[in-house]
């Protein structure tokens, strides 16, 4: 066997200069050219055992789409991707590849080598497809098999809707906000996931015949029993959008935000374009963001782009436990975000007008492992100190959206308040009602939500067919 010669590093990708991008909301990563993409595709070994595929939550035929790209057959490459993943342009940008496909890649296991840049290739191929004049709309069966209601237009709901429409169902999505997309629209910022890409995917789903009813809050604007009467099956993908607060003293001071509010103002309401856009957002000069997940990275980098002089991330654990995508962490460091590990806020301090002026923190150390297997952070007595700040953003997690759940008390929930559903089908405790995505798993990832939508689409098809036969 000939000695294989592959470059140690991923083919470099063009990015906006950190100094420039820290002041705009345009996408950070600019993408590969065809030649660069082919060069990167050439690093793939086409492994027979396909470890990358096993690492992908929806088992995309990764060597397959990379091989087609290598052969410059982009149409085929895109077809392969689309047959597994309804939102490849999104996933290529936001999946935690380092702990999924790329984390298992054989090349990455070789000494001194980085894995194949699978995510960047996925993004390249799907962006190429979108740039083509003709977009292939798959053939849709003209006979209507039944009617399905989808609650929530996030990745889970959109995926279930698209798959069911392709099978020949009449599908209607009910979305509470004025725009579809879920977290893709209101949470993840423009500089990481341009909204035009999300809109493109949504338009594609509409072109399949899916109807999207925005401003429609199930449980309020329409009841569950109305849905049960009008539809053969229901899929719930309402997500985990309720912000949690640390509940330390001073939480309601002006200047303390949940990341959900801060990011919704910026992304959904375009507050970064104020006053052209009507919705304002506070412009903090000295900003402290609590937490170190993707949400915290997005919040801190957004604050910087709005003009903050400095942005500090405080996290109660250490760098090792940080849950954010590694690429976002690197980008944040390049842009000048400061990280304060093993630090936790214990009080927000304000002036007599209720405006935040400082945050009191305590240093932490890692103790014995907790239930999650991670070492539990414990405060170090007497280590309190204060940071002067005019804006704090708490990004410490979200829980289930309650509006629907409180209107649907029959639905069985888990002890943590999420919907109890079969992981393979999404079947809930109620016949004909399926659920998937963050509302079942708790805050997770786009690809897992999408995968859940796919599985439920199949299960819903089986359910509706069997129901019609029985009749």
């Amino acid at each position: 066997m000939a000695v294989i010669k592959i470059s140690n590093n991923k083919t470099p990708i063009k990015e906006q200069d950190p100094k420039v991008r820290a002041h705009n909301f345009k996408e950070v990563v600019l993408g590969y050219s065809l030649e660069e993409a082919v060069a990167e595709a050439n690093r793939c070994l086409q492994c027979v055992n396909q470890p990358c595929v096993a690492g992908c939550p929806v088992n995309i035929d990764i060597p397959g789409f990379i091989l087609a790209l290598k052969n410059r057959d982009l149409t085929k490459s895109a077809e392969i991707l689309k047959s597994y993943n309804n939102l490849p342009a999104v996933c290529g940008r936001v999946c935690p590849q380092e702990s999924q496909c790329e984390g298992r890649c054989t090349v990455g296991k070789m000494k001194g080598h980085e894995p194949v840049a699978i995510g960047k290739l996925e993004r390249f191929v799907s962006d190429w497809e979108a740039s083509q004049e003709t977009i292939n709309i798959p053939e849709i069966s003209s006979k209507k098999l039944g009617k399905v209601a989808i609650i929530g237009a996030g990745p889970a709901g959109l995926t279930a809707a698209a798959d069911l429409a392709k099978m020949g169902y009449e599908v209607k999505i009910f979305e509470a906000l004025h725009a579809a997309g879920g977290v893709l629209m209101y949470g993840i910022p423009e500089f990481r996931l341009p909204k035009s890409i999300v809109e493109r995917e949504i338009n594609f789903i509409k072109s399949l015949g899916v109807e999207i009813d925005t401003d429609s809050i199930v449980g309020r604007s329409i009841t569950i029993s109305e849905l049960k009467n009008d539809f053969d099956a229901i899929f719930i993908g309402t997500g985990a959008g309720t912000p949690s607060f640390m509940n330390v003293p001073g939480t309601n001071l002006n200047g303390v935000y949940s990341a959900s509010e801060f990011l919704t103002r910026i992304n959904l309401m375009h507050a970064y374009e104020f006053p052209e856009s009507d919705t304002p957002v506070r412009l903090g000069k000295h900003v402290v963001v609590v937490g170190a997940g993707n949400v915290a990275m997005d919040a801190s980098r957004s604050a910087l782009r709005l003009g903050a002089e400095n942005v500090k991330i405080v996290y109660r654990r250490s760098e090792e436990e940080m849950p954010a995508r590694i690429e976002e962490y690197h980008h944040a460091i390049e842009e000048g975000i400061e990280f304060h590990w093993l630090t936790n806020p214990i009080e927000y301090i304000g002036d007599d007008k209720g405006n935040l002026t400082a945050v009191k923190c305590i240093k932490m150390e890692l103790g014995a492992p907790d239930a999650s297997g991670r070492r539990r952070p414990v405060p170090i007595q007497g280590s309190e100190f204060t940071i002067e700040t005019d804006m704090v953003v708490e990004a410490i997690g979200q829980t289930s959206n309650k509006v629907l759940l409180s209107a649907f008390p029959e639905l069985k929930l888990t002890p943590h308040g999420y919907i109890e559903a079969d992981p393979e089908t999404g079947q809930t405790s109620i016949k004909g009602v399926f659920a998937g995505g963050d509302i079942v798993t708790g805050a997770a990832t786009v690809i897992l939500a999408m995968g859940a939508g796919k599985k439920s689409a199949i299960a819903i098809d089986e359910y509706v067919k069997s129901k019609k036969v029985a009749r």
Partner: protein
């Protein structure tokens, strides 16, 4: 799009509109609100559902022009459409037979008290209503409130209608004559709600207030609307908007309403520079 089917000026800078929103109309209950946007660049603002007509599929909104969005609404005409209406939102008022209820409305808050007092009247309560305003022309919906109340008291700061004074003076008059009140509601400017809650507490009357914090989504997903009630942080859009008036941290509510003062000013000035003279509002 949600079409405006009628529009009327009811006081200086105060307007009433009926808008087509069949889904909201058929599900609305007293005490609930909607979130609206005027255009695709617009802010999401909450407005109380003052009335609804299920057959026509329309809802009634009554608003005071105070900033960019409400000014813009005031310039809209019959046949124009709002970009978005989402709702009904919030928990409906607790309607049951209490006995005698005292309904206190001030300013544009009268629009919010009206649907609740009507329903309480239908539920068999004796309804005593106090409406307050700075002057006679600002006491809106007086006739409608009167029609559904057993007794109506009007208070004005300048004495141009009813008794001279504020709503709490009206409350004290009732207490003095020994009227036994089983429950009260107070909806209006935050200061008015604060002091009517204090007075109610002194008089031993349980009282609901309807808080109006700044909101974004209105569905419990952002926490912008958080208020402290008792020892707990509550989200007014899903846990309220009505809360036990004794328990609200009023100073915090008022501080939080001032959060965007500077930007609100810029927004309105820009708008006025664009559309020209708005003194007719």
């Amino acid at each position: 799009m949600f079409e405006i089917t009628s529009k009327e000026k009811i006081a200086a800078k105060e307007y009433e509109i009926w808008v087509k929103a069949p889904q909201v109309a058929s599900h609305a209950k007293p005490g609930q609100f909607v979130v609206i946007r005027t255009s695709h660049n617009g802010e999401r603002i909450p407005l109380t559902i003052a009335d609804f007509n299920v057959e026509k599929g329309e809802i009634r909104l009554i608003f005071q022009a105070v900033g960019k969005t409400t000014y813009e609404m005031a310039t809209m005409k019959v046949g124009d459409s709002l970009q978005d209406i989402a709702g009904p939102l919030g928990r409906p008022s607790e309607i049951k037979k209490y006995g005698t209820v005292l309904m206190i409305g001030g300013g544009v808050g009268i629009a919010a008290i009206l649907p609740i007092l009507k329903t309480l009247k239908d539920a068999g309560n004796k309804v005593i209503t106090i409406l307050g305003g700075r002057s006679a022309d600002l006491v809106i919906l007086k006739d409608e409130c009167e029609k559904h109340s057993d007794e109506l008291i009007v208070t004005t700061d300048d004495g141009s209608m009813g008794m001279k004074g504020v709503v709490t003076d009206g409350m004290k008059v009732l207490a003095k004559r020994g009227e036994k009140i089983d429950h009260a509601w107070s909806i209006g400017p935050t200061v008015m709600m604060k002091f009517s809650a204090y007075t109610a507490k002194d008089l031993g009357i349980p009282i609901f207030v309807s808080l109006n914090p700044i909101m974004v989504d209105g569905t419990g997903m952002c926490g912008a609307c958080r208020v402290t009630v008792g020892k707990n942080i509550r989200f007014a859009c899903v846990d309220g908007p009505e809360f036990d008036g004794y328990e609200v941290n009023w100073d915090e509510v008022m501080n939080r309403l001032r959060q965007y003062k500077d930007q609100e000013k810029i927004s309105l000035e820009n708008y006025m520079a664009k559309v020209g003279d708005l003194s007719w509002l």
